[in-house]
């Protein structure tokens, strides 16, 4: 038995007072590194990794013009997810609350988005248009909010009756310029120019995909494709990637809360889950100082298994 470092001034057992044995840490680390490298190379070779192509505005508009048109109409009349979101995009709502704390509202609108302007009117105005579209755009912009709401409301009802197929909507003066605007936006989307228009941040280089991602998320096709890939929230999708690859399995507890009451039925579900996880994370970090919790290891005899050799020698 060898004795190494001197005892610290506080009364605590020196690990080496239990006896010691030769141990080559560098050799252990080298073997571990080689083993992990070999395992990683093998897993990567056998299982590869997923890379499902991203959905574009163009692919969405071509595959499902009805859903695209209905989404664009919702952006125009203010009923889409983004248009009615609240902070940090706009003031259409107060955002979620965590008990009395309105944290989202307190943080404010840091990424202002006027949905009608950003997704519909802006891209139409920015592109060269024929006189009919320019005229429709002028008419819509010059109309009062009430008049705009009547046009979009009438067209929304007609589109719903036609199962979101704009080609089956019978023309009517009640729609005002809305069908012309949405028809042109659909064309721009299908040619791919809307992808570029939504990405434009006013400069040459672009890195912010907030607008195209929010527009896609306001539609139904992104969610439908995610559902088909088992990525939806009620499918514990956070733990998967496309093609049945493992995802962020370590977030099982986070996604667990969304499956149970009251989280799964609350309007403030996200804030409640985040609040719960914040508290649990603090508990996790400060386990050593929490009476009762820090005593659990003494009650669960896993430690007897870990140190069985030590206890056996002690008994002998």
């Amino acid at each position: 038995m060898t004795s190494h470092s001197p005892h610290a001034p506080h009364a605590e057992p020196d690990p080496y007072s239990f006896g010691s044995r030769p141990y080559d840490l560098v050799k252990e680390f080298t073997i571990a590194l080689v083993a992990v490298l070999a395992l990683t190379f093998a897993l990567a070779a056998v299982f590869s990794s997923p890379d499902e192509k991203p959905m574009t505005i163009a692919s969405w508009a071509k595959a499902d013009p009805g859903d695209f048109t209905a989404t664009a109409l919702a952006e125009l009349d203010g009923s889409s997810g983004t248009a009615s979101y609240g902070p940090p995009y706009n003031t259409a709502a107060d955002g979620q609350k965590l008990g009395p704390l309105a944290l989202a509202k307190a943080a404010g609108v840091t990424h202002p988005i006027d949905a009608a302007q950003a997704f519909v009117l802006g891209p139409l105005a920015a592109a060269p248009q024929d006189p009919a579209v320019t005229s429709a755009l002028s008419t819509y912009n010059a109309a009062s909010a009430d008049q705009q709401a009547k046009w979009t409301g009438a067209y929304s009802d007609a589109l719903t009756k036609a199962n979101d197929d704009p080609a089956k909507v019978t023309a009517s003066d009640a729609f005002g310029p809305v069908p012309v605007l949405l028809g042109q936006l659909l064309q721009q989307a299908q040619t791919g120019s809307l992808d570029g228009a939504l990405l434009s941040e006013g400069g040459f280089y672009q890195t912010d995909y907030t607008l195209p991602l929010l527009f896609l998320a306001d539609g139904s096709d992104l969610a439908a494709q995610a559902d088909a890939q088992h990525l939806s929230g009620d499918q514990w999708g956070m733990m998967n990637e496309t093609g049945n690859f493992p995802g962020q399995a370590w977030l099982w507890l986070y996604t667990f809360w969304y499956q149970i009451s009251p989280f799964n039925s609350s309007d403030n579900a996200d804030a409640l889950v985040w609040g719960t996880m914040a508290v649990l994370s603090l508990v996790f970090v400060f386990v050593p100082f929490i009476p009762g919790l820090r005593s659990i290891p003494r009650l669960v005899p896993v430690y007897r298994l870990i140190w069985r050799q030590h206890y056996r020698e002690l008994q002998q």
């Binding site: 190494h4 470092s5 605590e12 057992p13 080496y16 006896g19 010691s20 044995r21 141990y23 840490l25 680390f29 571990a32 590194l33 083993a35 992990v36 490298l37 990683t40 190379f41 897993l43 990567a44 070779a45 590869s48 990794s49 890379d51 991203p54 940090p88 955002g95 989202a104 943080a107 990424h111 890195t207 912010d208 995909y209 907030t210 991602l213 929010l214 992104l222 995610a226 990525l231 956070m238 496309t242 962020q248 399995a249 977030l251 996200d270 804030a271 985040w274 994370s281 970090v285 386990v287 050593p288 820090r294 290891p297 003494r298 669960v300 896993v302 430690y303 870990i306 050799q309 206890y311």
Partner: protein, 241 residues
Amino acid sequence: MSEHVIAPPPTPEPSPVAGATDGELTGGWTGAVRRGAVRALPPDKLLPDTQPKYVASWIYVFGVLTLAAFLVVLGSGAVLALKGPAWWHGSAVGHYFNSLHLWSVELFMAFMVIHLWGKFFMAAWRGRRALTWITGAVSFLGSVGTAFTGYLVQQNFDSQWISTQAKDGLNSVGIGAYFNVTDFGQMLMWHIVLLPAVVGLIVVLHILMVRRRGVVPPIALRSAPAEPAERETATEEEAAR
């Protein structure tokens, strides 16, 4: 007459370390930092060639496996960074390096979780080791954040879906106002610069704490009073030292 001059034997310059005699502190702040570092972690404590006898379980392997996997994560990520974020979508070699990155992350997180549970059931915070636990727990949470931002910057369907879903949670508590998961540029910076730097620093601190305090001794059996005395845990004051 020879021009050669016999020089006197050179006077050895005093070593800055040796110059510090008992009770004499030299070297200013630098010397103080050096003395503190050597006092806290003398070489044989920093890199010992022995271990306490009770370190005899497979559970101890998962700490070093976690560290090894972390290095593989950093290495595979460095190659992906070297070639740029779009490389792996159009190159078979790039795709393989992406796969290496993915699987090393999966291994890293798996090893770390096992290591963490092992340390929990050892009550490894005993004996002034609370800061060791805290740095380990924070590095786990930091790794979760780093992995999350990695999923956001894959530039594929997964990234689109994860970012549009995750924004709601972050926005609900005001974090999304400053941490925009749909901003690819911002997330890429967090993933390849800020978070790895923070996690790497905390991991280094964690390892130094382990070396400084040593591996936690076994929990004393009630029927074995002969074992060295131990305390339930460190106080906050001790943990801060």
